[in-house]
Symmetry: C2
Subunit: 474 residues, 2 copies
């Protein structure tokens, strides 16, 4: 089971920059808050936008896994390339699962050494990148016949994903004809309504549901994240088992036993009471690094809100930052230790790399680095992590550590559930709606205006007026 060590968030370690130990102890206001919030989350559990909490449990789980399995069994044996079209919550979970549970060089391995197809998540409309990925699976390529496109869009109207889909659809129709092209597309979309639903029904694409009441950033354990993971050989039952285990722990009213409530309490209070408004997630593991990207969306988009539940302007939220240990010790730690004391750090480490650990050979015979000989890269990595933890404490920078006993699907599932539930707690503490994203709307309609969508002409004018050319350029 994942564990969280948080002594370094407390004043006995980091002085005035930490919280009093007594203030998070049993009987403290935070602990009482925890019990109240836990009761509140029990009352909303599985309802409204909190339906994601039920994803690891039957009947949703059985329904999803039951739909994914046969599709994967049919497609995977002849699939060499899986290309996911999606953005935001339709991409970050897929990327994080693939990165954390498969090799960092997965796409470069020969087919026999890979647990599934090469996987590409095209989560942007940069033409150079899109063109580059599409060139890998062009019609003349031997793997073209073994390419599956997985379009992920609840509505089908997200401009980026829609444009990508239009390109992929046309490419496939030109190569295979209108009839056959449908066999290469799996859509994950609204089960009942919307633009993409209609397109799928008309064209006969295989589909999986984006379940009702599951928002994008909480969707990784639905078919949105699970289909591509299963295609690439990830143990999706392990993921869901882990999430279910963590979910159970996070229903505990006693804060000292509830990892999500503890995490939310520490980070929100450090943010509000101690000015630690940037929350740095720094895994000491390349594989876990992109989980920090998934976390970035969850934390930023859920908590970054202008108004509270009563409509009062609060400009809430914290700035999530991803960093990589040890790499960023040589890039960011100078600032983290000596710059403004405005951050809380979530270090993530791996207790045991098992068979993946690599010995550091003997034989160089140079005094200055002889201490490394005969050790292992895993031990060096963890020593560097501990040294950084020490250095942060010495500079009075609050930090905590989440420890993975090892990297596998079960622990990644635990990690996901931990942060999702922590986000719910943090939303309650901040008294904001953790499930909307009103500020994204302006950019969407302004894009419509600039791209000439009918009915949005005024937006082009608004943009052109607001951003008129000036002499302020160099």
């Amino acid at each position: 089971m994942l564990s969280i060590h948080y002594a370094n968030c407390l004043s006995e370690r980091v002085g005035e920059h930490g919280l009093e130990g007594a203030s998070v102890a049993p009987g403290s206001p935070s602990a009482l808050d925890c019990a109240r919030m836990t009761a509140s989350l029990e009352s909303t559990r599985g309802r409204g936008w909190e339906r994601w909490r039920l994803l690891p449990f039957d009947p949703m789980r059985a329904e999803h896994v039951g739909a994914i399995r046969p599709l994967v069994q049919r497609l995977r044996p002849a699939c060499e390339n899986l290309i996911v079209l999606g953005i935001g919550g339709s991409a970050l979970g897929n990327i994080a699962l693939q990165a954390s549970l498969n090799s960092t060089v997965h796409n470069l391995l020969p087919a026999a050494e890979r647990p599934g197809p090469r996987m590409f998540v095209v989560d942007n409309v940069d033409p150079a990148n899109l063109g580059a990925v599409m060139s890998l699976v062009k019609k003349s390529d031997p793997t073209f016949q073994k390419t599956v496109f997985n379009v992920v869009s609840k509505s089908g109207e997200t401009a980026e994903t829609a444009a990508q889909f239009m390109l992929v659809r046309q490419t496939l129709i030109e190569a295979l004809g209108r009839e056959k092209h449908a066999q290469r597309i799996v859509a994950i979309t609204d089960p009942a309504k919307g633009t993409m639903r209609k397109i799928c029904d008309d064209a006969g694409y295989a589909t999986l549901p984006v379940p009702d009441g599951v928002g994008g950033r909480f969707s990784v354990l639905s078919p949105v994240g699970l289909f591509s993971a299963a295609m690439c050989g990830v143990d999706i039952d392990g993921l869901l088992d882990g999430a279910a285990e963590m979910d159970a722990r996070c229903r505990e009213p006693e804060m000292a036993k509830n990892p999500a409530a503890t995490l939310a309490t520490l980070l929100v209070r450090l943010g509000r009471e101690k000015g630690k408004t940037a929350h740095v997630m720094m895994p000491y593991s390349n594989q876990l690094y992109l989980l920090a990207d998934w976390f970035r969306q969850l934390w930023a988009e859920s908590l970054g809100k202008r108004v509270d539940q009563q409509g009062k302007e609060v400009f809430a939220g914290f700035t999530p930052i991803k960093a990589l240990g040890t790499t960023d010790q040589h890039s960011q730690v100078q600032l983290y230790r000596e710059g403004p004391n405005d951050k809380a750090f979530v270090l993530v480490d791996v207790q045991d790399f098992g068979a993946a650990d690599v010995p550091i050979p003997r034989g160089l015979g140079v005094d200055a680095v002889a201490y490394l000989e005969g050790s292992t890269f895993g031990r060096l990595l963890n020593a560097e992590k501990r040294a950084t933890e020490y250095a942060l404490v010495e500079s009075r920078r609050p930090n905590l550590t989440i420890t993975f006993p090892k990297i596998d699907a079960r622990h990644v599932g635990q990690f996901i559930a931990l942060w999702e539930v922590a986000t719910s707690y943090a939303g309650l503490m901040l008294n904001i709606d953790a499930y909307d994203q009103p500020a994204v709307e302006t950019g969407k309609v302004a894009t419509f205006g600039l791209m000439g969508r009918k009915g949005y002409e005024e937006w082009r004018q608004k943009v052109d007026r607001a951003l008129a050319e000036t002499g302020y350029r160099v």
Copy 2:
């Protein structure tokens, strides 16, 4: 030439969150400061730790390019894999050049379609990642015989790079014998002294210099960054030409004509006067995204300082954050618009994708997305950028845009020089030493202690005492 548009940093656009236009106009205190700082930088130009300013110019340039070219000519034809061992300033520049100037799928292209070898920068000691990369070039692989390792370390004593080097050296000796293994290693290190110098001289490795007076984070235009770039087909003369052009503009005493001084003035003043202490770099281009990682080190490690030049505690610095457009519109923009107004945004866009642009096909026939048909991905990308700029202004979030006319070596060289010189200006404005990194030391010696290096035993005790187990865990 790159251009900077900064009207959105001014109060006429973003109200109290921006600077007064008059305060940056000719004759203003900022403009006078600029003239003074420019004179100061002229007086230190090419001296002490500002020797990096001379890298784009002869004689340094001719010396470096003259040493790199023949080595590349000799090695490149038979090189299929180039593996760079380095960390921090010995890695981030290499990664940024490769990412920005070669295809995003470079390593997956067949040899005939690549301008050079596959390239891997191993800038961590994660055993799983290191083992994965090494497995690609194992002795049994046909490309093993065509693999070159490029170790980048001035001293040779950086623990991460030393350990990697020990592994690579041993692997090569076992496969090729002590004599022949040397042909596969190119070291970039101190030309005269140090542990790595001695190792190279003893073993007979080809070497290139880390020039004196060039710190890691300012070294990308030295052999540190140029060798791997040239191996991978990057136009290093174009890079240096661009850097020289930008350097010339950044010597202009008049702020309105000096892009680096303008950039530094805006960001430092927004930070200090308006509380915009996080500086988000958000390129609308996958290729340019990793330039933001290079920028992160430059900005964080140069400016994040506890004491000023007089030794007074100031805890200076800004938190650099990388984001990717449009991708992060669906992850971070909710926070950027509605969270605390504590950020300044540097958007980066590309005017012309040229032949790399991709049309959005017609023919789907769905009303809701018909506005996309017949446009291009490049136009959509840039419309999204402009829409986001508009949305940020609407929320009174100061931002500026750096525009690449197109992505090529010359403009990337300009971008690098722009930020390096801007960092010098920012260091002067903050009155701190932009060239040291004192806070990194503690982590290094604590690691020595934990890894059992002789003479550092007390550090293990210090760490163990400071981080003793507690009950604060869940």
